[in-house]
Amino acid sequence: MDITVNILLTIATAATPLLIAAIGELVVERSGVLNLGVEGMMVMGAVGGFGAGYLTGSPWIGLLAAIVVGALFSLLFAVMTLSLATNQVATGLSLTLLGLGLSGMMGTGFVGQPGVRLPNLDIPGLSSIPIVGRLLFGQDPIFYISIALTAAVMWFLFKTRTGLTLRSIGDSHASAHALGIKVIRYRYLSVIFGGACAGLAGGHLSLVYTPQWVENMSAGRGWIALALVVFASWRPWRVLAGAYIFGAVWIGQLHAQAFGIPVPSQMLSSLPYLATVVVLVLISRNKRLTMMNTPASLGQPFVPDR
């Protein structure tokens, strides 16, 4: 029984950064902006979070710094693509490259230094309930944030007026603009929210998952988060499910290997991307489904006529 709990806990830790980054990107894409810079923002969040935590000794300040650094870094993308109407794909890619390089430079002094770790939640009594205690009441704080965030985004996008407006901008920025909606302002806020989420996901890496700083420590998780958004066809609860499925497959294959069952681990490592391709093929077969889910003006620059 203990091993089951341990496996579930490991899956949760592996899925949390994917979930947070993907939820942020989902909001960005729902507003019609494609930010391929998730990996860069994530790694910037990781170095910012580690640095602030290491220098102040407080993991909570580190966590806050991760969010702020991610948000500030995404602001760069927002200014370029929204105010200057640059190509979103190219700008997003350069954001990733810049983030990887810049974080390496900023983190030079942190290499080889043990950082601080965000403590796990521990509610006296509740956390020691067998099995469910540790799963529900004994995890790291970011795990709870990730679940709450998913619920909040779901509610915001589909149950509030502002959420509806945001989705309408993603579907047709021209119509939204004609109705007097401030398209650029909405998109700015979405991009910054996405950046903050990616930063938080990075903070999870350097403050919870593996409390240390090393260059490129996000190791492609930003790209998996991007794939997850498409995999989930822009639906928050599917992002949640997808993140946990990817996490479970990964942890499951590690256990299978340790158990002596030969599994082609290379194949399983590429599973998130394969699954995304399959989902893309499936949803593009059904035109109505595609129209319903994909933000129609995704990736198109918008220049309001004055």
């Binding site: 830790t13 950064p17 390496g104 080889g112 190791a219 990964w250 942890i251 340790a258």
Partner: protein
């Protein structure tokens, strides 16, 4: 997308080349790394070697490096660029740079090239490598002594000879203490992904291993060991700061002395391409201070280290292959060629080698 990313990254790496004012009387020595120097692992250790060269040779030398250079065709450009920029001696530190170096060395016959862990040479291209397997034998002995469950967890990257050699040497060391010792092997398909390494360590501990060994570069697995109050070994760098109660020792690389001697030879004009495989006795493979173990285990480890430094090879027969067939006869020592191309397990390894 990943490919484009890598291409762009190489370009940025090339642009970020540390170029300082050139002085005519200084010899320019250059390095090419496959990883970032901030990996606190393999590339980091090579860069420490470069810094030692700067320190030891002072104003006689000027150094430069390119990091994050992907293995494969892109590497050609990196080496060519360095050669054109006046580097007199260039060290390529990763196996995958081999063909690029051979090609560029032909184009620049006056430039001295050195390649780590490869096997192709030329008139101006030498090779060097380190016998990490020597250290892994010592790790195996310590693991067998210190493990209560008799099972170690072994996290590995890719099934290349270097890694297979390490697993075999570790198992031979462990079996010399406890013939029934087992290792659970997990392939993570990456040299460097802290998250995956941590997950692998957790999985291995959950399945009963109580000591962790790694052939990947980050400190993540040791941090998991620290958290679970179990033990493990560091890799490439001394990782004691990350796991003060968990690290038994760390298998570290020390390239500085070799680099200093080669750059000095280049300055003197006595440089010739060589083919060296350095080990514990040359100080290129080092074991970090033995910690968190009783004195008798420490004494045993030190004795083994001394024995290997004295010229004894862990791959000395009798050794059988995994399927039980004979490999080395009693007293027979494996030759370097076989070791460098090793693609089979020795007896007692509980894993199927991915092909």
């Amino acid at each position: 997308m990943k490919k484009l990313l890598i291409a762009l990254m190489t370009t940025t790496a090339a642009l970020s080349l540390a170029a300082s004012a050139e002085a005519a009387d200084k010899l320019k020595a250059c390095w090419v790394y496959t990883g970032p120097i901030g990996d606190f692992g393999y590339s980091y250790q090579h860069d420490q070697g470069r810094l030692q060269v700067e320190k030891a040779l002072g104003d006689k030398v000027e150094t430069a490096y390119l990091e994050n250079v992907s293995e494969g065709p892109d590497a050609d450009r990196a080496f060519e660029r360095l050669a054109r920029e006046g580097c007199k001696i260039i060290f390529g530190t990763s196996f995958g740079f081999m063909d690029a170096e051979v090609k560029v060395a032909k184009k620049f016959p006056k430039v001295m090239f050195e390649h780590a862990t490869g096997y192709k040479t030329a008139d101006n291209l030498g090779i060097y490598n380190a016998r990490f397997y020597e250290g892994r034998y010592v790790l195996g002995q310590i693991a067998a002594k210190e493990s209560k469950s008799g099972v170690a967890g072994y996290i590995v990257s890719f099934p290349i000879p270097e890694v297979v050699m390490g697993i075999n040497s570790f198992m031979l060391g462990a079996q010399s203490i406890n013939p029934n010792f087992k290792a659970k092997i997990v392939w993570v398909n990456s040299w460097f992904d802290p998250g995956k390494e941590a997950d692998a360590a957790k999985a291995l501990f959950d399945q009963g291993a109580d000591i962790i060994v790694q052939h990947t570069d980050s400190t993540a697995a040791l941090q998991v060991a620290e958290e679970r109050k179990l033990h493990g070994f560091g890799q490439s760098s001394d990782m004691i700061k990350f796991a003060p109660n968990a690290q038994l020792t760390s298998l570290t690389d020390e390239w500085g002395p070799y680099y200093i001697s080669r750059v000095q030879a280049a300055i003197d004009g006595s440089w010739k391409p060589d083919n060296v495989w350095l080990g514990i006795k040359d100080g290129a493979v080092k074991l970090a201070p033995y910690t968190n173990m009783p004195d008798d285990v420490k004494a045993m480890a030190e004795a083994t280290e001394k024995k290997i430094a004295g010229g004894w090879n862990p791959f000395t027969g009798p050794i059988a292959k995994q399927d039980g067939s004979a490999w080395l006869k009693d007293g027979e020592v494996a030759d370097d060629g076989t070791l460098l191309g090793m693609n089979f397990y020795v007896k007692g390894v509980d894993d199927k080698l991915p092909q």
